[in-house]
Amino acid sequence: MTKDITVGISGAAGMGMQSISFTLAKSFLRAGYNVFVWQDVMSRIRGGNNTSMIRISTSPVNSLKEDFDVLVALDLLAIKRNALKVKAGGFLIYDGEKQRAEEPKAGWISVPFEKLAAEAGGDKIMMNSVATGAVLSLLGAEVVKECEGVITELFSKKGETVISGNLRALKSGIAAVTPGVSGKFMLAPTLKINSKNKALINGSEALGLGAVSAGLKFYSGYPMSPATSIMEYVAAKAREYGIVLEQAEDEIAAINMAIGAGYGGVRAMTCTSGGGFALMIEGVSLAGMTETPVVIGISQRPGPATGFPTRTEQGDLNMVLFAGHGDFARVVLAPATAADGPLIMSRAFNLAEKYQVPVFVLSDQYYNDSSFSVDLAEVRVEPVNRGGVLAEFPGSYNYKRYDLSAGRVSPRLIPGAKDQVVYADSDEHTEEGHITESAELRVQMVDKRAGKIAEIVPDMEQPFYFGSENPETVLVSWGSSFGAVKEAADLLNASGKPAGILHFTNIWPLPEIKFKFNESAVKSFICAENNYSGQFADLLEKNTKLRFSGRILRYDGHPLTAEYIVGGLEG
């Protein structure tokens, strides 16, 4: 019996790989398994070669394997590009009638997708359900009921004929796999207890949802992969929850709109990717200067410039840390999994308002586009803390936006308060918010803005630690690399090499790090990051006691995996 299996669905853009992988993932999720799905796609709308990578496991899983146990190849290119990634003993499911080019190899199973689809429902498009059935069959077909449920929901708006056609197609897919092969990868059973308390949600949805439940009231953004889907989530919810959402003409407008709304007194956010964020940097500095709360989501993708737009990387950390001219405080957070989304977002909005600073939420294509199985019981948020924003202020026209007597964070009055006006200013300013030329005030105001960082530090959370109490190897990671790094540590521990993982979601400012393991046991601290230079390792070395004896870096557009990390440790 298999406890952990990786299935790939590969084909040209537009062939429906994502819907097959969604159906499979959701079915196994409902059957109590843990699932994880990543999309490895090209930057094109039709054609090319995209692959949905699905992992199904009896244990929690937030990362991928380097190759497949089962690969469904929907066209010839899919075979060409991915056949070698099928493990020895694994299977490649393809349509031998349509996709002949090479001699079929051992483990290649021909399932005539189109023909069976046509027979089942009269529609070629139902080949997706045929393919889904073929995979189910290999995996033991224990989840047919769940799968039928998912298909029925999926096509509920398309009517009975479509539903029953797809259900028939599913069945014929199951039947198409010969008995000797079917069930080869029979999954170990799970306790179905939690199956109703699990959600399948991708990172973008988790962040959008987190923002909405944190009281987001204004969203402005400009589409950019992989951040667009956060915007589309919020757009879909805007009416229901009274959120103003506007597609800006560019990223500069997006951030300035959000800052305007933040000044106006509501929780505001904008999301983009690295290239779009580059355009927002003057705005970041404006938020710093005017002390306006704003949340900025940066969904990283490989740069520079347009780069590798549909792939993943954690390469924008340095830019975010040093974005903006002049010194001022900021906060950087990075969720580890989709379950983290709401917590990170609620913290982001709280910290932004509490300290009146820009807060960055760093994710990446791997995080945004991957579907995670989330245990609903794990979902946490921070209670709302609006940082003492004021609706009214006593007296008459005596409010000072940058009151120095109040410490580094001055009370923030919402404009429209009776008999008061609120001046916010991008120039160096007086306590009242008027332009100043005073060198003395300049120094006080720099100290106020940059000095906030010292107040934020105690509010920052310690990194998580998982693993051995006496680790020889401590893997250090941040954000979305969590799943792969955690799995790598598990592998090491399983092979008798005591290891642990020190994982950061609170990236900046860094708290003074307290080790929850026996430091003297450690032979090497290794940082594992999804970028070229080890940007987070640099940050930690500069600002904490951590020193790394090695860095495992990946920058080919693919996410870190446990295999890659363990390979890196050995190599």
Binding site: G242, I252, Y263, I435
Partner: protein, 286 residues
């Protein structure tokens, strides 16, 4: 009744003596007082430039943001406070060069914001470089052999964008200007008021005298119909011996706010803070 003096600010004024900006300031105070708005009911948003300092010289809520980014900041502030009066202001460089894209797209959104562009046809604060409205052949710091880029007609662009209120004022005629500003603020929708504003220090061509010899009051011409877009286009391009001031184009249409707020809605910033529960939202993915 609100007096113009209710808008006085104690902040030290940094404009040159005789600058056209003073006329704009006075006209704005008169207009706001005439509309019986209290200082706390008004938000002014501005960019950077000499003109963009104007909110400091008034008592109003003020977001003095970045050079060129007036429109987006004003849009955000307005969406958070749609029951308030939002007025944006800045120079011709601020509005049409650095802010050129936002200017165009603000008109597409049509929020109920009034935009006062102090158009001195020069960069004042940075000491005299060409702006998008600088006349051909003008010698400036960056065009020492004469500017060659065709001057933009912001009014014509506004008409082309179907902007819902398009007007021109002259800082040398405070009375007429204050009427135009009042009409712009009263108009529901995005209103552009391009204001001929002499820069006595750096623009030696378009002086008070130069403008005075040319401007005429279009609002007095009963035959002119500001609702006719084609006529408005022609009028917007009139520039030379005669320069029209007043309302060039006007069009009624829904404002952006109508697409998100119901008439009874309070400003977002003053609504109760009751976000949905994350678990509820998450359950939809079960």
């Amino acid at each position: 009744m609100v007096l113009a003096s209710a808008y006085n600010s104690a902040d030290d004024n940094a404009w040159c003596p005789g600058c056209g900006n003073f006329g704009v300031l006075q006209a704005l105070k008169l207009a706001l007082a005439g509309l019986n708005l209290e200082p706390w009911q008004v938000i002014m948003v501005s960019g950077i430039g000499q003109a963009a300092k104007i909110p400091h010289y008034l008592k109003v809520n003020c977001f003095n943001g970045l050079h060129g980014r007036t429109m987006p900041a004003a849009f955000g502030a307005k969406m958070a406070n749609h029951k308030m009066t939002v007025i944006a202001a800045g120079g011709d460089g601020d509005a049409y060069a650095e802010g050129g894209n936002h200017f165009v797209h603000a008109m597409r959104r049509n929020p109920d914001i009034t935009y006062l562009v102090h158009d001195n046809q020069i960069y004042g604060l940075t000491k005299g470089q060409a702006s998008p409205t600088t006349g051909l052949g003008t010698l400036t710091g960056t065009t020492p052999f004469g500017s060659v880029d065709i001057p933009e007609s912001p009014l014509a662009v506004a008409v082309a964008m179907d902007c819902s209120f398009v007007a021109r004022g002259f800082a040398g005629d405070i009375e007429h200007l204050s009427k135009i500003i009042a009409a712009a603020v009263k108009h529901r929708g995005f209103s552009l008021v391009d204001i001929l504003q002499p820069c006595v220090t750096f623009n030696k061509v378009n002086t008070y005298q130069w403008y005075k010899e040319r401007v005429y009051n279009l609002d007095e011409d009963a035959a002119y119909d500001p609702k006719d877009r084609n006529k408005a286009f022609t009028k917007a391009l009139e520039w030379g011996d005669r320069i029209p001031t007043g309302i060039i184009y006007k069009r009624e249409r829904p404002v952006f706010e109508d697409s998100v707020f119901k008439p009874a809605d309070k400003s977002l910033s003053r609504q109760p803070f009751t976000p949905p529960d994350s678990l509820e939202l998450m359950r939809k993915y079960a």
